[in-house]
Amino acid sequence: MLNNILRYFVIALFMLAVNVSAVALAKEVSVNSKESVKNQKVEEPEIPPDMPQYFLKRYEQFIPGKVAKPIEKINKRLKDLEKSKKRSEAEVNSLLAERQQLIDKFWSERDFKQIVDERIEDIQQEIFFQSQETPGLLFGANGGFRGDMAQVYLLHGSPGDPDLGFISIRNSDSTFNDLMLWLYMDKEGENIRFAFLFYRKGLGGGSFELLSQDSFMMDPCGAVNEIMRSHTYAYRGCTDEIYNALRQLELGTAVDGTPGYYYAWALFNFSQDPGLRQGKALQPPSPVSELLKRSTARVIGEPAPLTAEEKVSRFVFSDCDSCNSMIPAELNKDELTVSIVRKNLDWAIVGDEIKTELKIRIIIESLDDKKSGPIVVEIKFTHVVAKKLLTDNPEGKLVLYLLPSLASLPAGNYTVNIYIKNVLTNNAGENVSNKYAAWLENFVKK
C-alpha cells in the first residue's frame, strides 16, 4: 500500500515536472515562433503533424531509403529556394506537386496509414501511463517520438492487442536495473513472435533502451553484462558473477507475476521463429504489392472469370446436373474408347463453328510384367464442329479411340489410367473450363 502511495507520489511529481517542462517548452516555442517571424524560421514540433513537409519525419520508421531520397532532395531544394531572393513560384509549385505525388504513391502502395496515425495519436496521448499493467510508463520519458519504445510501438503496436502478448516491467534490484519486456505472440498464441527487451542503462537509470539481441547472439554473457547495474565496459566474457546474475534473473519473478525465465530467454532470443531477427522486425514494412511479387504462394486451378456477355457470346458451357467439374463420359474397357455426349462438353464459339480442346493423358502398365515400365501418352486434342450440330443434335457423341492398334499390345493384364481435361482458354490464354474425366481400370488384352 505504502509502496503504491509512494509510486503514485513519484508519478505525480514526475507529471508535475513534465507539465512544468511542457509549459516551459510552450513558452520556448512561443518565443521561438515570435523570433521565427523575424528570422523566417519555423520550429518543428516533437511529433510532426500530418503535413507534406513533415512526411519524412512523421513516418520515418516506415519509409525505406529509396523512397526517402527523392523527397529529401525536394525538401532541400525547397529550403534553398526559401532562402533565395530569386525564387520562382513556378518551380516551388512544381516541387510541391512532385513531392505530393511521391507521398501519394507511397501510401497507395501501403494500406496502413490509418493504423500508423492512430499509433502516433496513442503516443501523443501516452496511452500506457494510466494502464493497469504499465502505470506511469511514458513515451515522453523514454526517448519520445524518436525513442526505442515509440519505434517499436509505431511498427508493431501494443503487444496486448489482440490479447495474446503482454508488457511486463521488472523493477530494479541490486543486480539489474529496470527491465521491460514486450512480448508479441503469433496469431495462434502458441509461439513468441517478437520479444523486445528494454532496459535502463547503468546505475543512473535513465530512459528505457532496446536491447539488441542480434548483437549478443554470439555473446550471451555480454547480454547479461549489458543489463546489469554493475555493467562494465571492461567486460571480459563469462564470469561467475554473470552466471549468478543470470540464474537470479531466471528464478525471479516480476512484480506483475511474469516469471523471470521470460526475461532470461529474451536476453538471447528475439523470436521462436529461428529466421526472424530483431533488425528485420525494425525495418520499414514492405508494400503488399512487393510482398506478393516475392511470394511463392499460388492457388491455381480456378477457371478464369468471364463476363456474362462473354459466357453467352464466346462460349457454350455444358449445363447438365453433374457438369460443374465433371465431363460425364463412358469408358469402353474392351475397345478402350471414351464416349462423351456433345452437350456435356464446354465449347468456344468460333464464327459458325464451335471448338473444344482436350488434354488426354493415358498411362498403361502391365500387371504381368512389372519391369516393362509404364507407357505414357499425352495428347492435346482440338475438335471443331459446326455450331449447328450442337443445337440440332446435342445428344450426339464424340467417341475417342484411345488405342486403335490394340493388336500391337501384347496379350496380358493391364492397368489403364486415363485423364481427360478440358483446357479451353480465353483470349488471354487463361483456362476457362478445367473440367475433367478420369478412370483407373484393369483390362485384359486377349
Binding site: 501501403r110 494500406d111 496502413f112 493504423i115 500508423v116 511498427l155 508493431h156 508479441y184 529466421g275 522486425a281 514494412p285 510482398l291 506478393l292 516475392r294 511470394s295 511463392t296 504462394a297 499460388r298 492457388v299 491455381i300 486451378g301 480456378e302 477457371p303 447438365c320 446436373d321 453433374s322 460443374n324 467439374s325 465433371m326 460425364p328 463420359a329 463412358e330 469408358l331 464416349s339 455426349v341 456435356n344 488434354k359 488426354i360 498411362i363 509404364p374 507407357i375 505414357v376 495428347i379 445428344e395 450426339g396 457423341k397 464424340l398 467417341v399 479411340y401 484411345l402 492398334s405 489410367n417 481435361k421 478445367n434 475433367y436 474425366a437 478420369a438 478412370w439 483407373l440 481400370e441
Partner: protein
C-alpha cells in the same frame, strides 16, 4: 506401340436408367460441423483440393444422417516457401497479414467459390439409435449408398456394413525415375467409380511461373 486418337461423331444413344431409389433430398437439412476437405498433400508445400465431405442431419428426424461427397474443379495450393528468398515472409504486424495469412485467405476464398459449383457424387444415408445397454449411439438398420459413375449414371447399394465404398489411391509415374506420384483417389461402388485427381502438369506450370 502405335497409340493414336481418333474421333467419331455418332448418333445419340439412349441413356442408361437404373430403377434405384432417389437420392436423399437434403435441402433444409443442417450441416453437422465436420466439413472435411478431400485434400491430397503433394509435398511439404503443395496441397491439392479435390472435393469436400459434408454430413447433413435431418432436422425433422435428428437420428437421420446423410454424408455427401462432392467433387470440384481441382485446386492446387502452394504455401509460401519461407526462407527461399530470405524475405518472402514479411514481419510487419502493420500489414496485419503475413504471406501465410494472405495465402490462407486466398485459398479459402477460392475454395469457397469452387465449392459453390461442385458436383455431388456420393450420398451415404443412415440412421442412429441409442443402444439400451451401453447408452451409446449406434447405427440403426441398413445403410444406403449412392455413387455417381464417371459416365453420369448413379449406382446404388444397401447393406448393413458401413464400408461399401472402396477408396484406392491413384498414382502416376513421377518425373523422378522409379518413383510414383500420388495424383488422386478412386471411389468405387460396385461397377461404378469416380476418380478425383489432379493434373501433374499443374505442378510443373507452377515451377515455371517461379522461374519467370
Amino acid at each position: 506401340m502405335n497409340i493414336a486418337i481418333l474421333f467419331l461423331i455418332c448418333a445419340c444413344m439412349p441413356q442408361q436408367v437404373n430403377n434405384y431409389p432417389d437420392r436423399p433430398n437434403i435441402s433444409g437439412w443442417t450441416v453437422v460441423p465436420s466439413l472435411v476437405n478431400l485434400e491430397l498433400k503433394v509435398d511439404d508445400y503443395n496441397t491439392s483440393s479435390l472435393g469436400l465431405e459434408t454430413v447433413y442431419q435431418n432436422p425433422q428426424a435428428p437420428n437421420e444422417f446423410v454424408k455427401v461427397i462432392s467433387r470440384q474443379i481441382v485446386l492446387i495450393s502452394e504455401r509460401p516457401k519461407e526462407g527461399r528468398s530470405g524475405s518472402t515472409q514479411d514481419v510487419s504486424t502493420l500489414t496485419n497479414n503475413t504471406d501465410n495469412d494472405r495465402h490462407a485467405k486466398k485459398e479459402a476464398d477460392t475454395l469457397s467459390r469452387i465449392h459453390k459449383s461442385a458436383d455431388l457424387i456420393v450420398f451415404i444415408k443412415w440412421r442412429t439409435k441409442i443402444d439400451g445397454r451401453r447408452g451409446q449411439e449406434i447405427q440403426d438398420g441398413l445403410m444406403e449408398f449412392w455413387l455417381l459413375d464417371q459416365s453420369g449414371v448413379w449406382e446404388y447399394l444397401i447393406q448393413a456394413e458401413p464400408d461399401a465404398i472402396d477408396h484406392v489411391t491413384v498414382t502416376e509415374p513421377s518425373p523422378n525415375k522409379g518413383r510414383s506420384l500420388i495424383v488422386g483417389l478412386k471411389l468405387s461402388l460396385g461397377n461404378a467409380s469416380q476418380v478425383l485427381r489432379l493434373d501433374p502438369d499443374d505442378l510443373k506450370d507452377k515451377e515455371s511461373e517461379h522461374v519467370k
